[in-house]
Amino acid sequence: MDSHAAGSSSGGSGDGAAQPRRNSRKPKYSKFTQQELPACKPILTPKWVISVFVLVGVIFVPIGIVSLRASQQVVEIVDRYDDACVPAGVTDKLAYIRNDSIPKACTRNLTITKDMKQPIFVYYQLDNFYQNHRRYVKSRNDVQLRDKSKASETDNCDPEAKTVDGKPIVPCGLIAWSLFNDTYNLIRNNETLSVDKKDISWKSDRDHKFGSHVFPMNFQKGPLQGGKILDSKIPLSEQEDLIVWMRTAALPTFRKLYGRIYVDLKENDTITVQLENNYNTYSFSGKKKLVLSTATWIGGKNDFLGLAYLTVGGICFFLAFAFTLLYLIKPRKMGDNSYLSWNRATLGR
């Protein structure tokens, strides 16, 4: 027993020593059991309140400014082509897009509004496309993508698990099946800009999730053809379009990386895009956009982050000011006993 306990027991009763058996039930003194652990008890003093708000403001406003500047350095060119790439006379866009016999080539001209430093990212953007639908998200099998020997594992892949004659589809599932299949060919001054499609996916996906010995099998062989047909000679780990597509987007409007151009573009350059408008977004009236964008350390054009930071920082400065005013107008001495309820009660009377 430690000294404190011994002290208190001898103080409490003289015959404590005579009954060691009884006193053995005495709780041992420890700071923990007696709830007397040393503790820091911070108190929200006016000084603290104002400093906290000022501090938050001081941190947030610069972050806001820096990220807003970064965002504004980003040059972004967006071109919506879903309507434009349907020939003028076609009224039933759906029939048009579904008709494989009609060539879907289409040409778009983009004007660069501002100098763009390489690397320039080429994105396709879909709208009103529910990649986050539960039925869609579930419809894949990771094991099969990774391991050649597990090709027949097509759990969860319904309704795109097996071909009509029961052979497993690799990669199975709705996600792979509906792979985006528009293609872009960018030309500047009659010179094709090579679009680098390497490394557009996450490295870990290529290395670990999509096997380098797994090749597409029975893919898009069913009665219904979804999207792109994969080259069955290229292993999945190198099918980067698929890898990117398989990372389902969080929202119905999403952008996915198509490739990179390692050429600087000048202001007023005209880029001719020869695209193949294959992908059906007409049935659900989804927009299709082609995006050229540079990126900075915060990524693409994202004014919101900077503005939000500025707003929060500004509010904090305002609050710091408001509380300063409050403390000046209605000062309350810290620990002023007249604010104790019993004192106030008598004051009120």
Partner: protein, 1219 residues
Amino acid sequence: MARSGRRRRDRMRWSNLYTFSCFRAQHGHAGDAGPSSDGAGAVGGPGFSRVVYCNNAALQKPLKYVTNYITTTKYNIITFFPKAIFEQFRRVANLYFLLTAILSLTPVCPFSAVSMIAPLAFVVGLSMMKEGLEDWRRFIQDMKVNNRKVSVHKGDGEFDYRHWKDLCVGDVVRVEKDQFFPADLLLLSSSYEDGICYVETMNLDGETNLKVKRSLEVTLPLEEDESFKDFQAVIRCEDPNPSLYTFTGNFEYERQVYALDPSQILLRDSKLRNTAFIYGVVIFTGHDSKVMQNSTESPSKRSRIEKKMDLIIYILFTVLVLISIISSVGFAVRIKFDLPNWWYLQPQKSNKLDDPSRPALSGIFHLITALILYGYLIPISLYVSIELVKVLQAHFINQDIHMFDEETGNTAQARTSNLNEELGQVHTILSDKTGTLTCNQMDFLKCSIAGVSYGVGSSEVELAAAKQMASGADDHDIPLQDIWEENNEDEIELVEGVTFSVGNNRKPSIKGFSFQDDRLRQGNWTKEPNSSTILLFFRILALCHTAIPEINEATGSIAYEAESPDEGAFLVAAREFGFEFFKRTQSSVFVREKHTSSEGTIEREFKILNLLEFNSKRKRMTVILQDEDGQILLFCKGADSIIFDRLAKNGRMYEVDTTRHLNEYGEAGLRTLALSYRVLDESEYSSWNAEFLKAKTSIGPDRELQLERVSELIERELILVGATAVEDKLQKGVPQCIDRLAQAGLKIWVLTGDKMETAINIGYACSLLRQGMKQICLSIPTGEQVAQDAKKVAKESLLSQIANGSQMVKLEKDPDAAFALVIDGKALAFALEDDMKHMFLNLAIECASVICCRVSPKQKALVTRLVKEGIGQTTLAVGDGANDVGMIQEADIGVGISGVEGMQAVMASDFSISQFRFLERLLVVHGHWCYKRIAQMICYFFYKNIAFGLTIFYFEAFAGFSGQSVYDDWFMLLFNVVLTSLPVISLGVFEQDVSSEICLQFPALYQQGPKNLFFDWYRILGWMGNGLYSSLAIFFLNLCIFYDQAIHAGGQTADMAAVGTAMFTCIIWAVNMQIALTMSHFTWIQHLFVWGSITTWYIFILAYGMTLRSRDNYQILLEVLGPAPIYWAATLLVTAACNIPYLIHISYQRSCKPLDHHVIQEIKYLKKDVEDQTMWKRERSKARQKTKIGFTARVDAKIKQIKGKLHKKGPSLTIHTVS
């Protein structure tokens, strides 16, 4: 045999000496003893089938009566699992979670099955473990009782010790003095020749006076072990039933049948007193015994906070259903109109879960999905966390060193942990008296002899008043508590050393005697002017009683076995004054007198001629005796009013002075008796005695009346000698505790089985009553009306008494006036009837203190219910005996005093403490803390789960209401169980708004509980609003940040996993920062848990990212989010945005509307209490509720009184203080 020789010595025929109680019993049986048909008609019929073959195990065994083994556990090893699981799923919330777990096995569930089942298994498992542990404790307690030993006849006249549990019906047992009876017994014989024995039934009905039981005449010869060699008898009696005061049965012995009645039955758990041993036959064992039949299963109690929490859960459940319906309607609409267009989902191959042709059906299926998905609104871990927190809180209560009692070696025990926070909301305390407030021990403190008051030991009130006047004079603001400050050892010693020398461990003193006055000690009284009166006074003390001396052979000292503790105190006092009563025979009392003659100690014999003993109706006791000179003397002691009425003209010499002294004593909380004597001449006595004998031997119903009438004839023309003042010793610290509890704003009611005078005395002693208080006494006048009529009359009279009382209270103009309500048990019986109880309650609420006397256990429970339901506030009942069990079970919180008297109260209680004074710490410190902790914890829980659960809902709207969650299953699983649970548990276990000392110093802080400042709807809705706001901020800020743009310089955009993980990071930060803001007390544990939770999240996501099971979260932190500054920027932004409103709220509240504990925290923080000690002391004294009861109020009143006297008499009066 030496032992039997010793036994025989105290053989005495008490029944010859006693006039009233024993003789009546004699009459009942002596008259028609022998073969009897009385009651035999019923025996053998239905309900009266029990047959007991005494001392004949062979015949008894086939009857298969239960053994004496008792068990109060809920489960046994086999039933534990099914029963405990059933108990668990009786909770609605658990049932809901079970349902979702089952549904999670179907494809409807949006999550993997394990993420639903694992938390449920954890939660249920933990709760069951707690149940099991509590039941185990009960089992240990039972075993303790079962393994007590008792001496049992094992054949051939040999007795041997056996465990209680092995006792069987028909066994003959020998119970020694001060032992408990192991089962319901039939008394066969006792150490007294006439077979009587004394029984204390404290545990059964709470009555402290001893009861006399007597055996049948025929069994009297069974007085030794050997005599049971061939003892055979058969008892036929009633079946087990809970009625304590009835018994019907026949005793067949030696071919005769004798009727049995309750006076031969010794009940289990009552105690043998004043009798060396008894022999008895076991009739009812174990659960058949009357006391066990009386025990009811303790009702499961739930705290108010928990009930309110359930309500909130229902509200949340409604919200859950609502958003689920919105979700499924959305889903159905989407399915009907949009799904056919979503070719990438291959709608033509739909199954029934999302079939565009049957949207309604799909919608209904989706409703189930949604109910599971949004289930995070209802925190599954809330129950288990609260349970865990309460167990830990209970552990702290059990471990509190300040609630450890050195004498009994008991700690406080939270027996059920689910009422901890209720301790912080108590409004009314209902307390038992004996054993709870008092020790049931009397101390001779003062006396008034021949109009002179002796005894300087001041009572505590006088002392404190004097002290305060001496120290601070006029400054009322200096708190009286300083005298009691526990850290101030010197002062407490001073106080106790003077007032309570008895029972004080520091110096060995005499139990029952605290008298201090040198004028009477050491024979000095012979020098006093009235020494002859003093001599008489001492002789009355030494002779007028019914006690038996018991000589301790080892030390030669004498202990007294008295029927009431008062008598014991008188005898000890007489011995200390030099009149040692040392021997009683059938007809004489022997006293060793020290100072009456020059020869030193001489022994005197007084012949007892008659003994008219005390009963509650007579309120006096008389002995008529003849001294060695042949003089016949009558000594009478009794209540002052009774004695004063019977004084002779020449006996009133000291009446005025004595009356004054009696008033003073009474006001000091002492029990007083007046002593008187009368000298009888031979002829007068003999004529009276003849008449008395005639009355005594008369047979018939009016015998008692006759006896009383005859007694009156001789008990008159008395000469007053003086008065005694005995202190009904309060338990340590009781007045202080009551004082502080009153200051904390608690109402205290005393419910006692004692008679009104005793109760009022105790009311004075523990400052519930004081002089100047207006007492409203409600009682039924005892009239001689016919039974039918009496009831009506009594009721009417009571009604008018209540009405008068109410009127009086209403008309009172003086704000300082205090009222006390004292009500008698009989009156209470009427007052508790439906038509009157509200009137009664209203009056009682107006009164500062309420004392109910002569209440039965059942009435205690009824009063408790009345208060509980009538006031609608939390009630706490505290008691120590089995008679308090009903009250303890009925009250919102039952507290048992684990003193010396049995365990029934403790077994039925929710908390047990070993001393009443620990109640203060239990309520004011632990209750206050636990209330705040649990309240904050629950609020936070709702906040956190709303903040989290609603984000899932919002996401649905963006995912076509398809039931997809943006978070990984594992995140959701861990959110409640790991990532946010420990900080909130540490809040619930360790949070302290102010330290324990401050809780005690500022009793007013306790009022935050009863006023429910921390769990009112304003707070709850505030927290819910905060949760709603946070969910919106988290979701939409993240959505806008991660909308469609690249998230870092590599150009890749965020996918669902990245958005989900980023959002989840924000949630973890926001809720953990929120709890850090909520806490005001950070030990290393809180730091570890709060910051550890955040760290754990990062560690988890790193580790999880290493496994391929994580699918899209594979290496998400290392590769995707970690290198993206936008992720960290989003975390910081969202965390700040979520917490700023709360920060504004608390900053504003603190600066403009600080609560008491805020200000005190600040004072402590700025160390103002050290700098400005007068301010600190003043605030402490103000931090008490204005009370009209309690020690402080009384001292104030006393000071006023003394000051008044000072004014009148001028400065010559010196205050009589510690000498």
